[in-house]
Symmetry: C2
Subunit: 384 residues, 2 copies
């Protein structure tokens, strides 16, 4: 397999983009990524999107997006793994370049979520859970993650304030990210007084509904070096699944799919987790980030709450987590999130992250998951 | 890149399977394919499905299907390219094995289409067209293909009877396929007197709404040889896109994406089309098969109608097309079709196709397309 590099990134401001359609927001970011890469030709496209069928009544994104990008007859694929669709797109693009099948692959992610009502969006997102055993009983994702939070609090003594601190940290980071949907700071008091969604989770524990896209260009590392581009290699890719229904899990407080995907990605990269300088992880709810830090091995089981309290995961801490602002502040257009995580890591490793730069960052890791952890994708990136 | 073989196939009878859910029909075929392959372990799964979100309110098939197959934490992906989702799954699995990323990959396709009303199914299928420029004006697929048929009849003199003969041929083949949804013969008169859907297309020109799944197991060809399995290699894979909206095409009577995908697949295999012994192609409507035979180069432009009339594409003809019965008789669970095409080719190349066997078949080709040809996947298979 060939070494693979990311040579271009593209992203526009995320939010409620009512004046733009799915095809527009995808195409804008794809053009930025292609321009950043400085390539004329792309051999293939892979786009992650969770549910354009339910959100905008449009499938067949392979043809639609190749067409609107003006790139037909390019080979194009759409991949889906719920909220980890972007991470899956990155993995498929990585495999395609590594295999020698294609040299230059555009990897994108997109979701247009605000063209439907809140109830419709909640239903569409709920299709990432087991429809027959969870959805039909009325469970939606705030409820599922609330159960995980209650279990974690009960077993490990994780506190309501520790959950809030995840959101406060990520908004502090996001206040330095001009592309974030909510680029402002919040307080612990603000989180604790925000409206209750599913006890113990309040609205400021939840990532928002977002329109957005993100794109990167991959090529063989040798080609990137010849082009004299800053070379950020993808050195590890790990993917794993877990039972889709929470009720089937052995342990509500443990993200097995993330744990396994991380082990695979780190093994491929030949790295240990403490050699990584920054982490972009899937904080769809505050409890998720706490559980992810444990599953990645940044802290012991049950210590994720204390880790954020002690500043371990702050931008200047030992393991900076979500310097971009995370899903919480940056927004969470579900199919785009995994690709945007990679963009933040590339910007950090290039030293282009402005006043949210993690000093001296040379290695980064992304963790993107679907549902309550039914699927996880982990990637490791290294600057040369 | 490594040589890739198909070592296991699995399919159950297609039809209106009201007593089974999506997860059930997928799992049944996957278990058959794994048993046929004789493997214990699979490294990865890729599943093609067009619109489980709209048909059964379920996304996140990667986790769902790995779970119900009892294979978590296996890496799993769902891919979508409208009605060519199955072909896309085959290509992604092929690349994954060829790259060395995985050794044993389960490739499946599935669609559960009859749990909704006919109107809802038509809407869901319509999301393969351009929603903003085709769907919102009321166009659905029978209408889009009817326009292509009218253009082809006008330019080339293709007749109403020639269209009917495609359906008659495919039902004749399908009458010998016990897994087909409609395993019986029909007549030209029957087609011409069937209810009009979108002039000139009648109901017996249209492939049906179907529940079904199909699965194959891929591995490196070297591994297949060591296992002493009959080795059918995938020697070529081609993929291309075209404009999603019919109005943007230069020529309504020509399937450019199929033409390019076929050229790529044949070039990879080092074959010319006249070296291929049988073809499984995407006859979603009778006019589609006529246009596909032209785009593949089996006949000159405009001669597809005469080809079927002259028996060129019959089971005993020079270029047997759709010995399985095609989408028309076998059924068309949209995400599964591309995988089922590969299964028919494997059965034919193994000499296991019963009384629809194409004698002495050593090489086969599949062509699977999305929408009105906005995406096409072509694969070449060769027996050793």
């Amino acid at each position: 397999m060939r070494d693979v590099a990311i040579i271009g990134v593209g992203m526009t401001k995320w939010g409620e983009l009512w004046e733009k359609s799915l095809r527009t927001i995808f195409t804008e970011t794809a053009l930025l990524a292609i321009a950043d890469a400085g390539v004329d030709k792309i051999d293939s496209m892979v786009v992650g999107c969770m549910s354009s069928g339910l959100f905008v009544g449009q499938e067949h994104l392979s043809s639609l997006l190749a067409d609107y990008l003006g790139r037909t007859p390019v080979a194009a694929a759409r991949v889906e793994s719920a909220c980890s669709s972007g991470g899956l797109a990155l993995r498929q693009g990585f495999i395609e370049v590594a295999s020698g099948m294609s040299d230059v692959v555009l990897v994108g992610g997109v979701e247009k979520m605000t063209d439907v009502t809140g109830c419709e969006a909640t239903y569409a997102l709920g299709t990432a859970a087991d429809q027959e055993y969870e959805g039909y009983h009325g469970l939606t994702f705030p409820g599922l993650y609330a159960m995980m939070a209650v279990a974690h609090m009960h077993r490990y003594g994780t506190t309501r304030e520790q959950l809030a601190l995840v959101a406060v940290k990520n908004h502090d980071n996001g206040s330095r990210n001009p592309l974030a949907q909510f680029p402002f700071k919040i307080t612990v008091e603000g989180v604790l007084n925000s409206v209750l969604v599913a006890d113990p989770l309040r609205i400021l524990d939840c990532s928002p509904i977002t329109d957005g896209a993100a794109a990167v260009v991959l090529c063989p590392a040798d080609m990137a070096r010849k082009m004299k581009k800053p070379v950020v290699r993808i050195t590890g890719s790990g993917q794993a699944t877990d039972t889709i229904a929470l009720a089937s899990r052995k342990d509500l407080t443990w993200l097995e799919s993330t744990h396994i995907a991380a082990q695979k990605a780190l093994a491929m990269a030949g790295r240990k987790v403490d050699e990584i300088d920054l982490f972009e992880v899937h904080d769809c709810f505050t409890i998720a980030e706490i559980m992810v830090t444990e599953a990645l091995g940044l802290v012991e089981k049950g210590r994720g709450g204390r880790a954020v309290e002690e500043g371990l995961t702050a931008r200047g801490g030992r393991f900076p987590v979500n310097p971009s602002g995370g899903l919480k502040a940056k927004g969470h257009p579900v199919g785009a999130t995994g690709v945007a995580q990679a963009i933040e890591v590339v910007k950090q490793l290039r030293g282009e992250a402005g006043d949210r730069q993690v000093k001296g960052a040379r290695r980064g890791l992304t963790q993107n998951m679907g549902g309550t952890g039914g699927s996880s994708l982990v990637h490791v990136f290294e600057a040369e």
